[in-house]
């Protein structure tokens, strides 16, 4: 089994105000990220992605459950994690500092800091390093945040919605840097997003979170090769089986999402008198909609 860089066990976080009912942000999350993978952590706004990342960074304490990052506990061994992990969470820094100031400010914190890398990324990403942070565009703020995380030369990069609000050119620049430069060295990326197309482009693992629960965690290749949608008409068809990810039934039509063995499953349904309407491969967006969007309207942005 591959080494896990991030692992959570029944991780949960509730927020409670005075006299208010607790709000569940993360609810029993079991997440596994292998070394060297690019893990796309997808979910709708408010699904619990940012809270999970904040717990991994030691910024928020879990209400229950546990997490390990690089084998360390974020609550008690934060420093060890932060020395080896680049976190890009809120892209807000000291507003009066320029990019160059921020590079100078950061390098004192990290033993493996690389000035050469900072310079290279500043050039490659075309960041105006002599401009104050508050005067930078949203895209440049994001690029600068990424530059600072990359130049600390981390083993693990954790990015919360890195491309939110960016134009396609900037998105492409960031993705190239992440995939071609960083991940090619065998390092690990955890990237939260609700842009499924972008995750599908770069990730090799995907975790789908909704209402604080991890609904699916799988290799993207496995999803492409094995995940199928099977629609069948019949009566008293099975709703539980190892390969069933989700099932819904409307007016006698059963809609299955299967993680493997679709043809065999369809054959067994036929054996039970069902008529198979179709067996179709699924992409990430379809699986996401099937898992997350089945009970409510899903905004168009998730399909972007």
């Amino acid at each position: 089994m591959s080494e896990l860089v991030v692992e959570t066990r029944s991780l949960a976080k509730y927020f409670a105000g005075l006299g208010q009912k607790p709000v569940t942000a993360v609810d029993g999350l079991n997440m596994h990220i292998e070394r060297g993978s690019i893990y796309g952590f997808v979910g709708r706004n408010g699904a619990g992605k940012t809270t999970t990342i904040r717990m991994l960074a030691g910024l928020n304490a879990p209400t229950r459950g546990s997490a390990r990052v690089l084998g360390l506990d974020p609550q008690h061994e934060r420093i060890g994690i932060l020395e080896r992990t680049g976190f890009v969470i809120d892209r807000t820094m000291m507003p009066y500092m320029t990019g160059n100031d921020l590079v100078r400010f950061n390098r004192g914190f990290f033993a493996r800091w690389s000035n050469e890398m900072a310079k290279r990324y500043a050039d490659a990403l075309e960041i105006p390093m002599d401009r104050k942070f508050k005067k930078l565009s949203h895209g440049n703020k994001t690029k600068l945040s990424l530059l600072l995380a990359l130049a600390q030369n981390p083993e693990l990069l954790v990015l919360d919605e890195p491309t939110a609000g960016l134009d396609p050119v900037v998105t492409d620049q960031l993705v190239r840097v992440l995939v071609e430069d960083f991940a090619n060295d065998g390092r690990t990326i955890l990237m939260s997003s609700h842009h499924l197309s972008e995750v599908e482009r770069v990730a090799d693992w995907v975790g789908i979170i909704d209402r604080g629960k991890l609904l699916l965690e799988a290799r993207l290749d496995d999803i492409r090769a094995n995940y199928r949608r099977v629609r069948a008409v019949g009566e008293r068809l099975p709703e539980r089986a190892a390969e069933i990810v989700t099932v819904s039934a409307t007016e006698g039509v059963f809609d299955y999402v299967l993680s493997a063995g679709a043809e065999g499953f369809a054959a067994s349904l036929r054996g039970q008198g069902a008529t198979i309407l179709d067996v179709t491969p699924m992409n990430l967006s379809e699986i996401f909609l099937q898992l997350v969007g089945k009970e409510s309207h899903v905004p168009v942005e998730v399909l972007a």
Partner: protein, 263 residues
Amino acid sequence: MYLWKYWRESRIAFGVSMLCVVLLAWLVFKGVWHIDDPGHSGRPDQTTIAKMLMVSLYLQVPVSAFLAWVMGSFGVGRDLGEGSGSYLLTRPRRRRWFLWHDWGFGFLQLVWTIVLVNLLIGYLVHRLLGAGGNPLSGSIMLRDMASPVPVAEIIGLNCLIIVLFAGLIFGVTDFSTIAVKHARGVMLGAGIILGYLVLGALMHHYWPAIELPKLVMRAFQTSPVSNEPVSLAGQLGMSLAVRAAVMLLFPFAAQVILERSDI
């Protein structure tokens, strides 16, 4: 490098305070050159000089309180409010490391300003006494003392009293910004101090037997406006130690809050 960040944020307040010190120095030096003029009306007596030292202590109270209040707003609580808290606190240092660096550097700036002001006051007293030797030499006779008290000791005492008072205001403000997670915590800090003063006044009015400790330690038993000779209060060492402990209570309380709170 982290201290440079605090410096970047506080340098205007510190610069203004240094300008005020320079202005005070100009006034002191402009004045002292005329002390020995033939047409001068003569030096004040020792009682007047002792009163001057008392007055100088009380004059420093509002100014140092304001400076400490402003400086207290530049801590890590401001970053939490400006949204850069999660960036700052994902640098590989303990949360208390940030807090104590802010507190230490801000406190150092306060101490530096207060010491400079009191050195100037000491020099003025030294010249008024007509003492020779180093700029703080000379001594003043106070009531109930067996021998004259050196100017350097009184200046040192005044300095300590103001440092402890300013440190308390600074600590309360820094604590409030962290508790509120916003620079707006300075208003809470001011509220705590004003609330304490109001509570003291109410207690004095309704329950005169109970007296809350004063925010500024009483070093002298007399007041600047009374005609009594100036005398020192008792148990100064114990008072200073207790006030130092109270002053340090707030950064420690802020540390507990910062280390236990979600960012």
